[in-house]
Symmetry: C2
Amino acid sequence: MAKVTPRIQAGFMELLPAQQILFNKMMKTISETFEEFGYAPLDTPLVENAEILFAQIGDDTKKEIYRFSKGDDDLGLRFDLTVPLARYVAMYGNSLTFPFRRYQIGKAYRGERPQKGRFREFYQADIDIVGSGSLSLVNDAEIPAVINRVFEKLQLGDFVIRMSNRKILSGLMEEYGVGEKKDEVLRVVDKLEKVGWETAKQMLIDLEIKVGEAEKILEFVKTSGSNAKILEILNKMEIKSELFKMGVSELAEVVEKTIKFGVNEKNLQIDLAIARGLSYYTGTVYETKLLDERVKGSVCGGGRYDDLAESFSNQSFPGVGVSIGLTRLFSQLLDVGVIKATRATPAKVLVIPMEANMSFALEVAGELRELGVPTELYTEDDKFKKKLMYANKIGVPYVAIIGEDEVAKKKVSLKNMTTGKQELLEVKMVAEKI
Amino acid sequence: MAKVTPRIQAGFMELLPAQQILFNKMMKTISETFEEFGYAPLDTPLVENAEILFAQIGDDTKKEIYRFSKGDDDLGLRFDLTVPLARYVAMYGNSLTFPFRRYQIGKAYRGERPQKGRFREFYQADIDIVGSGSLSLVNDAEIPAVINRVFEKLQLGDFVIRMSNRKILSGLMEEYGVGEKKDEVLRVVDKLEKVGWETAKQMLIDLEIKVGEAEKILEFVKTSGSNAKILEILNKMEIKSELFKMGVSELAEVVEKTIKFGVNEKNLQIDLAIARGLSYYTGTVYETKLLDERVKGSVCGGGRYDDLAESFSNQSFPGVGVSIGLTRLFSQLLDVGVIKATRATPAKVLVIPMEANMSFALEVAGELRELGVPTELYTEDDKFKKKLMYANKIGVPYVAIIGEDEVAKKKVSLKNMTTGKQELLEVKMVAEKI
């Protein structure tokens, strides 16, 4: 029979069991932390009507959508978790209770040209707090508090949540009389770190911003110092724009509240260069970076938006949220060795029967599971050496050997696979030991 | 601005938060049980090359596939989790350790005509044990042991795992000299419960089975009694077919071992009418039914197969596995009221600050989370009544009210939302109480 070559598409992450166990552990830590703050889980279809997906995106993203038809339906795979949330809130608004805190960890799709570090199928882990009509600024402080706790628990080393408020730069543009160009300017600022000062300056000049003002903008977003220092500088600036003043006042309040939420000051840094490319954001914006220099780029980003579902509803749903790019983060961590896959089994012990009649071995395995120990049974009639080799390969920490002697004594020979130490124990003792 | 009507495709299950929490709880129970037996998690792309999907399916299923192209690639959404497993095992065989125990809980897609109880996007929860070259019969007994534990833990009432071995009926066909028709006969037997005796008999006659033999086949598969009784009847039958004898002997061994795995005899019933439609299965076959009559049909099914990856590899990978149709099961349980959605939040307590300065409330929320209590904070500046109404609507079991008094005393007024009882407590006591 002719064989089909087994393969997957480039840009689709697929893991071996030991890596998958690590990835799932990371997802579990994240979802548990989200739930710790009262965010409800959400799960929406991977497939949306194309009209929904296309409602509020640019042409570049449109091209990347996996689009298809089935019968008369024009469909596509979702490219993020925000559009489905907007559609969901507009659709079920009357059955939801606001403020609505939801998290969603799921796959999204962008058919980009595959390249190192870019994925076509990728997990995002999103939280959002959505209000109906209004939503207080406390929520802008809760989001970084959740992210802070997530990255503390993930134990990936030091990290910093960089924060700004888009009203500040937008207000500055108003002050310079180029308020209508604020979205373009914010996009340039967003790229500053990547393209460098000179290129960013030229990009601003190309937007017909005067040279002097372009330099002022770039100097402004590079303002550095402690959070208190930057706020002091902002407060002292003689800017008349109400938008600017509101931005500064919001930023000050959000920083203060974030610290009150228990976030260590060293993990939170005002950074006026944080702009987020999307015109979607209207206030607070965040980006989080790991300080480990091997991990490139922002690992999560988000912010405040005035109206989540404007394409789908006449009701106003302001919100604030953040998204962790899980697949990209995990793939980098694995590549550079920050995390290491070790065990290819969730079992803590492998029961190895040495006799064809497995009665006692089955009993032991059942008892261990009852006692809460994840237990795998070696089922094949192989030589002892092969059985131990299997245990070594899957990285199980203990094996419980059950031969004639053990059956007679109703005990188990427990071998610690790290130390090699072996002892004869009763089943209850095995559970305690592990 | 013209609005796009928010909507999803028919046949796609989408849940409100309280239902989603229930669904996730069910998924968690299932995945934890799979891990308790040492099955490693697997996650494969939703999108596969069409050639992979088409490698071993019939024309009916082909038509149901969501198929699309991106650039030069001919792609489709997976329609089950078995084809991806076959592709995975063929692709990474050299990096895996056999027997390979994996579970996968994920979505699959079939673009059927939508109708009540049929889903186009649905979760399956699969376990399989895959061997390289060979796989012992003990594994056929482990699978129902896992399923038994899953349904015990799900607490959906009594259930029965019905078991047979396809070699038995196939052997009987050999005996009747119509061995080449065994797959068609097995498909008729598989439909017996649904179509009834007379129709099934006619279907067999249409296959050019003699009337007398058609009746014998149907009488045979209706053999009832205890497992011991049925095995006794099978052993006493004077059938020369070696295949038949092997089937009976395998069935006897699998039943015996399944009981030794700790499965209660009342949950395990030999049923010779269990045939499974797919020609894919070659030995043991299972189906599980809930005894609650409101839940229709089989909730999970599976069996033994000789060669998992025959379309993708020259290596032989025999295996045994089972699949739970999670979306269909959940949707039925919810519809008939076996399970009920109550809480729309994972939080156990809602902290309600009564003052604009939330300092103490934020402190309390943080402390409760540190103590392991999922805690939501009410962030909006609303009237007390509205805050309590919110608590009622999301179904949170406790609220912690923090007003002037509480701030002064550094305590919390904890209200039990079920009993209405309220007491002034220290934060540590709140954590203990909840």
